[in-house]
Amino acid sequence: MKFNQMNRRTFIGTTLVGAAASVLPLPAIANTGPVKIGMISPLTGSGGSYGPNIVKAAQVVATQINDAGGILGGRMIEIIAEDSETNSTASVRAARKLLDVNQVSAIVGMWGSGPTLAVKPLAIEKGVSLSCLGAADAITEGDTQGLIWRFQATGREWGVPAAKAMLAAGHKKVGILAVQTAFTQSMIAPFIETIEAGGGQVVVQAEVKPDQPTFRAEVDKVMGQDVTAVFLPAYIAQFTSIAKEWYRGGYKTELYTLTIAASAGVNGGGKFISAVGNEVGEGIHHLQPTNDSSSAVYKEFESLMGAKAGTFLPFSALCADSLAVQVGAMERAGTADATVYTKEILTITNGPGTATSGAVNLLNAIRAGQDVNYTGYGMDVSFYSNGNLKDRPFGHFVIQNGIDIELGLV
């Protein structure tokens, strides 16, 4: 079977030819092939309950855009999703693949502060735009060269409304039970400041690891104190266990958390309420930046996602917005080169111009040469020049009979 054997020279020869062949056609493809958009999302690990819907959001919007003829004169959008494993070192390896092998034009759906901070220098070095869903302040600090865009409120913005809502409800002695992640930790200092400025007192403070098997000791420690309400910055995985412990312990303390952890949805279709049942969920308060779920474009988005009307889909709409804004800016600038097109992001999100929502509407308006002000899937999208999303009012909800009731804006 001599013909099957490969000697060293043939091997080196074919390897070199193969390597050369893989490099040569690239410049030719770059302007006519698909526009590649990478994603680094938490498909496994402690953020694993959010990732699949984040990726799906980008995929359904990309399909919608492609069905309407693509961008930049007919180029299709190709989404390449990688698993961040909710871990910054795995995210860096994923980013290397997306940047060096797939040669993506932008990365969207970058979830979590740690992974984002780890990937940020690579994206800047490659001149690729990074749209993230992480809350740590450091993400947009330093010279980002206009490439880093945060589609998420900062930690400070999450901490203050929760404190205000608790003060407004008359809670003066409160506790904190926080998960140790960059996102949730960044809310604590502004929360305490606001409570103390409002004449209240943080009586007890405890922290839990994201992957603890049980939270009973910490729940007992905090709820056993003389407190009338507890603030619980957490994700859905931890909050589900914490709420069960709270219910089992028969505590009268009121719980305040984030909508991403505890949404029941106005239709009762939220993951949290399906996991714990109506009795445990009863009376839990949660807050998030306002989301106009009644808008036509949000309803269309929900049906694309295959969700019932009124289901809260954490991070998904913001991820869809980040894709819409990136491709809108590409269309406006006429190129997929991030060092050029990201300069158009502020013009299409902050206006002045016609209020436009949804990716396809945005692209059509830009092609028609209109000035646009992108308003997003459910939430208005406007940026500060450093890439931070502008503050929005927070909606305050309470779960009653297994559905979310909005109590008003904070």
């Binding site: 699949p52 698993d83 092998v101 740690g114 140790q180």
Partner: protein
């Protein structure tokens, strides 16, 4: 593609260094170090903090190595008399203490936010793609030095005593070997290599946070050592490469299966990694290589 391969090779070198340390401590001396990620975290943070404070490459590297040696010596000193399983638990407890320290001493370590913007060494000499190659060469040189160090220890009489301690410390003690001091030296030698690994890790990633140092670091190191063949330094290089091929190769396999949704593809990837390791253990339970043995030439037996 070259940029990606260089990046992956640097990551392989770092994990091979962690495995090399584990091979000295566990493979040779029989000291099960489940808490290896704690030592790795401590040296990474020391390297990062000293780089951020403006110290040059060599000083940061030496500080990281000294931290590794000092912490390892301390842990070995207070717990080396524990039997194998209890020693493993003690190291795990140490690593957990390190993790809690890193999470809570925000003034020093940045807490859960970690330390961003760690300066990259030698960046004055090169940038972009060629910098990646330069860093790879630097990592390769450091790894080669550590490898030579570990090989020298393994083949020396010192290494022979370690293997004797691993098999039966009572026999070694009866022969007049001071068990405790040998164990402390072996553990500290591993700590020195972890110092190099920590320095490379923090300066390569440019950002560190506590989530980078979890039990999975220990798991990958054990996988590399077991796959390579316990006790064999050459083997663990192959082990570290095989683990990375499993971790990264599955990313490309997933790209060939567009009919799976993202969540399914990610789960399948983890299943494949697990299946790969199980197959490895079934078909190569002793690993790829044997540990170093003294060879006696025929002439010498006469």
């Amino acid at each position: 593609m070259i940029g990606y391969l260089t990046a992956i090779l640097v990551v392989v070198l770092i994990s091979a260094l962690v495995a090399l340390a584990l091979n000295l401590q566990w493979g040779q001396a029989g000291m099960v170090n489940f808490g290896i990620f704690g030592f790795f975290a401590a040296t990474s943070y020391v390297a990062a903090l000293s780089s951020l404070a403006g110290y040059p490459l060599l000083i940061s590297l030496v500080l990281a190595i000294l931290t590794g040696v000092a912490l390892s010596a301390l842990v070995a000193l207070v717990s080396a008399r524990l039997r194998e399983d209890y020693f493993a638990i003690a190291t795990l407890a140490f690593a957990e203490a390190v993790r809690l320290f890193l999470l809570n001493e925000t003034w020093l370590t940045g807490g859960a936010n970690g330390l961003p913007g760690i300066p990259r060494p030698l960046s004055a000499y090169s940038s972009g793609q060629s910098y990646e190659l330069l860093f790879f060469v630097m990592a390769l040189v450091l790894a080669a030095i550590c490898f030579a160090f570990a090989e020298a220890l393994t083949k020396s009489p010192f290494g022979r005593v370690l293997r004797a301690l691993r098999e039966d410390d009572l026999v070694a003690a009866t022969l007049g070997k001071h068990v405790l001091s040998f164990r402390i030296w072996a553990f500290s030698a591993g700590g020195a290599i972890l110092g190099v690994a920590g320095y490379l890790h923090s300066s390569y990633f440019g950002y560190i946070d506590p989530t980078q140092f979890g039990a999975f670091v220990t798991a990958y190191a054990f996988m590399a050592v077991i796959a390579g063949g316990r006790g064999s330094n050459t083997g663990l290089l192959f082990g570290a490469v095989s683990v990375m091929v499993l971790l990264e190769g599955t990313r490309f396999l997933k790209d060939l299966m567009p009919f799976l949704d993202a969540g399914q593809a990610a789960s399948l990837r983890l299943i494949l990694i697990g299946a790969g390791l199980i197959l490895l253990l079934i078909y190569k339970p002793q690993g790829f290589f044997r540990e170093h043995r003294l060879r006696v030439d025929k002439g010498d037996t006469k």
